[in-house]
Structures are given as structure tokens and as C-alpha cells.
């Protein structure tokens, strides 16, 4: 494993379940028992109706690229070595949008509507970071032509 030079997440008790799931290769969402809406990022209550009854749900792990950028310049450690890399807002199948990187994909192949699936980068023994890569299982007609999300 390459040395992780990017900022490491700081885990607090409230967010520990999210990072514990990531450690196991699962992307954790929350579904509100009151208003039945999914939310990100992970927190101790429902941010829509402020109910405390939120349920942990493993995301299907699939989504589409909602918007993206190919970053060519970033002098910060861990990024300077990685340029050009792709940062994206991905709309999960559950409907919420997450900031992420698109990996294992030539930057020029990334487009809005690209179907992607979650994967994980190892940052340390305890921490894995969710990223996304092209979804090989998705219908190839869709992955190449679907533009609308």
C-alpha cells in the first residue's frame, strides 16, 4: 500500500459507524424512520425532520456521475502526485449525492451519466475511503450513452 499523504479523516463517536462500515468495504447511508428520506453525510439524527430515529442502511453502492472535474493542478501532498485525477459528485441509486473520486478510469472516459460503483482506498490500517469506479456490471449501452440523471 502506497503511503497515504492526503488528509486523514478524524473519527468521532457520532461518525464511527460510517467509518467502521467503510473498513469492511461498505458504504453506509442513513434512512429516517420518520420522514423516510436517505441522508448523507452520516450524523446522529435526521437532518430533514430532526428525528432521532435514523436507521443504518448499506448503500447498494451504485450510482451515476452527476458532475465531475479533471483536476490538473493541486500542490497539496497526496494530490500533487495524483494529478490528473477526477473529482465528482455522484448521485447514488438511493437518490442522495456524494462528493468522491472516480478511479480506475481514464479521465477522458468520465462523463455525466456514467454508471459507477463504490470501491475503497486504503488510507491506514483503520481507515478506508469510499471512491467510485466505472460499473462493469451496468448495461454497457447505458454506461456509454446515458446522459441524463
Amino acid at each position: 500500500m502506497a503511503e497515504w499523504k492526503r488528509p486523514l479523516p478524524t473519527i468521532v463517536k457520532q461518525t464511527e459507524p460510517y467509518w467502521a462500515a467503510a473498513r469492511e468495504g461498505k458504504l453506509l447511508l442513513q434512512l429516517c424512520g420518520g420522514c423516510k428520506q436517505y441522508q448523507v453525510h452520516y450524523r446522529s439524527f435526521c437532518c430533514f425532520c430532526w428525528s432521532g430515529e435514523v436507521e443504518d442502511i448499506f448503500a447498494r453502492g451504485t450510482g451515476t456521475v452527476f458532475t465531475y472535474t479533471v483536476v490538473h493542478r493541486n500542490r497539496a501532498p497526496g494530490f500533487a502526485e495524483a494529478v490528473p485525477y477526477v473529482a465528482a459528485l455522484v448521485e447514488l441509486s438511493e437518490g442522495v449525492k456524494v462528493l468522491t473520486n472516480i478511479v480506475n478510469c481514464e479521465p477522458e472516459r468520465v462523463h455525466i451519466g456514467l454508471r459507477v460503483r463504490v470501491s475503497f482506498m486504503t488510507a491506514s490500517d483503520e481507515i478506508r475511503i469510499p471512491v467510485f469506479e466505472p460499473d462493469q456490471d451496468a448495461d454497457s449501452n447505458h454506461s456509454s450513452s446515458e446522459e441524463e440523471t
Binding site: P7, I11, F66, T67, V70, V71, N74, A87, L89, V96
Partner: protein, 393 residues
């Protein structure tokens, strides 16, 4: 609409764009003194003081800045604030000062900004380091989305959703440079073309180097006064006829970031228009925050001067120079004149110059009504925006 009770009576933009031999404290003193000099007031007349504690990446005084700077300037304001919402902070200060004046707490207020963003070699918008806070940074910082890349996400979505070509973004930079040619203090004055923008290096696609604001050292100050105090000043007042503000954020994952940016500006602008009793058709000169070219397109649509996805066509059809149908960022804006980390204050100073008729070679003749929008961020999509309607005396 009742007659405005709050006026800008002093407004000064430091001519420097590179000041390696100075520091933020000295620059603050220089601009505060120059703005005060316009009014005829004395330092002891300053009753309110506002300044940002920390430009996240440019401006280094830190929490408690308004108190610390009051000591340095040796003023004793009865009302201070250092609300920190990035480049929008200065718009927020005008709002808070106006509220304090209207509440009868103070009769005068000083707003300052100074930053050595350029000579300090600050990596504004292109890099970020440090320990990630548990919320929200820990969920985001590993992905390397600094300021430019954030706006690149908006630009990409905007182009996709409305079928806008990159030339429309590039034209914003060309307009700024064309206007800057008339401003001897502007950092860059040589003309550029759409092709120059599109062939400059990509920083974060689809944004190129010339889609990005310059990084300058700089400083500015504004003095506000109640109507009663304004009448005692020797300067020509510019009235704060309307103001509004709004914020945006992730909305629990529901926000798509781009259209919500326009929504935010629109919310603040509707409030400002309503207070001033004007509408988007009444603007003589506009100041639209231009940290990146995409900001201007989204800002114009938020101002309601055109529909969504139409800002590029609007600019081309109306013309944005001082002789155009929609004069905008006539000093050259942040893209060509001055952007020391945060731009919000300079939009208000430029609008004041225009409404006093003191903009010199880049004056829009007869400008009576100006609208400015200052937008800034706490972190990525946690953003704030303020709209102001200013009118000549």
C-alpha cells in the same frame, strides 16, 4: 420604499496589487485612513467595526481580529462583528452595520480587508492541507476538491444541463480584461481573446487558468453612516437602498450544487430588490463576484436579469462594457483587476465609485443604481451570498 437611512460615505481601494514589504496591519491602517479622510470624520467617530478573522487562504490575523485590529487602529467601536463567510463577509458586514445603525446602536461603521495573498504565495483555490475536521471535512477532504475544482463541478453541470459551450465562460474573462484596460490600477490590462482563455492550461476541467481570478495583494475600506451622520460628512453619500443575504449547503445530500447556487443568489436578490423597490431591469451598473468565470453566469441568473442557462447569450447581446447595455465589473473585476483572496469588499467600493461619478476612465456616465452580489464559502458548497442595491444621492 422609504428613504434609505444608511449610506456609504467612504470607500477606498488600495492601488497596490503587490505589497511584499507591507503586512495586513499596515495595509488596513492605510485604507482605513484613506476612507476616513474622504468623510472628514475622525478615528474617534468610528462606532462600529467589521473585518474577517481569517481569509481561509489569505489574510492571517485570526479569530478576534476585529478586537485586535481595533487595538492596533486605537478605535473603540461599540459594535464589532467578524462573521466569516468568505468573500461574502463584506456584504454581510454592510447588512449587520445597517441593522445596527437602523436600531440606533451606532451612527458610523468601518469595514476593512487586507491580504498579502500574492506575495505570501498562498495556494488559493488549488490546494489544501491540514487535519480534517470530523464534520464535514472528513467526508470530503480526501477527494482533493479545492476551490477551483468546486467551481469546475458547477461549470460542468451548467454546461451539461443548459447546453452551454465553453466559449460562453471564456467570454466572461474577455469582458473583464476589456474593462480592465481602462483601469490603470488593474493587475492585467492587455486584451485577451476567447481563444486565449480556452488554450490556457486547464486547472480543473472545464476551467482554464484564464477562467480563474488573479491572486493579488490588496486592501480596501468602507465607511458607513446613518443619514444624520452622512449629512455631516463632506463626501457624497451613496445610499444602501436594499440588501439581502442567503446561504446554501448540501441539504443532506439532496443539493446538486449548481442550480442551488442560483437559487441562493436569487433569494438574496429578491430581498434586496424588494427593500429598494427596484427590479433587475433598473440596474445601471452591476458588480458580480467573479472568482471564476462560471460565478458570473450563475450570478447573473440569480440576479434575475436573464433566465437559467441564458447568461452567456445575455452578456453577448447586451454588452458588459461601460458603453454596453449591461455594464458589469467595469474596473476589471477579480478576473483582471484585484482579487486578494476575497473580493466582496471591492465590488462595493467599485459600485460606490460609479455612483459618485468618480470612476474616471471606466466611469459609466450617469450611473444612478448599482447592484452587487458577493458570494463566499465556509467550505465547498456551504456558501453564503449577499446582494446590495446602492443608489446615488
Amino acid at each position: 420604499m422609504s428613504a434609505p437611512n444608511v449610506a456609504i460615505v467612504g470607500a477606498y481601494e488600495h492601488p497596490t496589487r503587490l505589497a511584499p514589504d507591507k503586512d495586513e496591519w499596515q495595509l488596513t491602517a492605510e485604507v482605513a485612513r484613506a476612507a476616513l479622510e474622504q468623510t472628514g470624520l475622525k478615528p474617534s467617530d468610528i462606532q462600529g467595526y467589521f473585518m474577517p478573522p481569517s481569509a481561509t487562504m489569505g489574510g492571517y490575523i485570526g479569530p478576534g481580529a476585529a478586537l485586535l485590529m481595533s487595538d492596533y487602529l486605537n478605535i473603540k467601536p461599540r459594535f464589532i462583528d467578524e462573521t466569516d463567510v468568505g468573500g461574502a463577509s463584506f456584504g454581510y458586514y454592510v447588512n449587520r452595520a445597517a441593522l445596527a445603525i437602523n436600531a440606533g446602536l451606532i451612527d458610523t461603521a468601518l469595514i476593512t480587508y487586507a491580504s498579502l495573498a500574492r506575495s505570501g504565495h498562498v495556494d488559493i483555490g488549488s490546494g489544501r492541507t491540514g487535519k480534517a475536521a470530523p464534520i464535514p471535512e472528513s467526508f470530503e477532504q480526501a477527494y482533493g476538491l479545492a476551490g477551483i475544482a468546486f467551481y469546475a463541478l458547477l461549470a460542468r453541470r451548467y454546461m451539461h444541463e443548459y447546453g452551454v459551450a465553453p466559449e460562453a465562460l471564456a467570454a466572461v474573462a474577455v469582458s473583464a480584461r476589456r474593462n480592465a484596460a481602462a483601469n490603470p490600477d488593474a493587475a492585467y490590462r492587455d486584451p485577451i481573446t476567447v481563444d486565449d482563455v480556452l488554450t490556457s492550461p486547464e486547472i480543473a476541467s472545464p476551467l482554464h487558468r484564464l477562467d480563474c481570478c488573479i491572486v493579488s495583494d490588496g486592501a480596501g475600506a468602507i465607511i458607513l453612516a446613518s443619514r444624520r451622520m452622512a449629512q455631516q460628512c463632506r463626501s457624497k453619500p451613496v445610499w444602501v437602498a436594499g440588501f439581502g443575504e442567503a446561504i446554501m449547503h448540501t441539504d443532506g445530500g439532496r443539493s446538486g450544487w449548481m442550480n442551488e447556487t442560483v437559487d441562493m443568489v436569487a433569494t438574496a436578490s429578491r430581498q434586496a430588490y424588494a427593500m429598494a423597490g427596484i427590479g433587475p431591469d433598473d440596474i445601471d451598473v452591476a458588480g458580480v463576484y467573479d472568482a471564476f468565470t462560471i460565478n458570473v453566469l450563475l450570478g447573473l441568473e440569480g440576479l434575475g436579469v436573464c433566465g437559467r442557462g441564458e447568461a452567456g447569450n445575455f452578456m453577448e447581446e447586451r454588452g458588459t462594457g461601460r458603453d454596453g447595455g449591461f455594464p458589469m465589473n467595469l474596473d476589471g473585476g477579480g478576473l483582471s483587476s484585484n482579487h486578494p483572496g476575497r473580493r466582496g469588499l471591492f465590488l462595493l467600493i467599485e459600485a460606490t465609485r460609479q455612483l459618485r461619478g468618480e470612476a474616471g476612465p471606466w466611469q459609466r456616465p450617469g450611473a444612478k443604481t448599482a447592484v452587487t452580489i458577493a458570494t463566499g464559502a465556509a467550505s465547498l458548497v456551504r456558501r453564503a451570498s449577499a446582494t446590495h442595491v446602492l443608489v446615488a444621492d
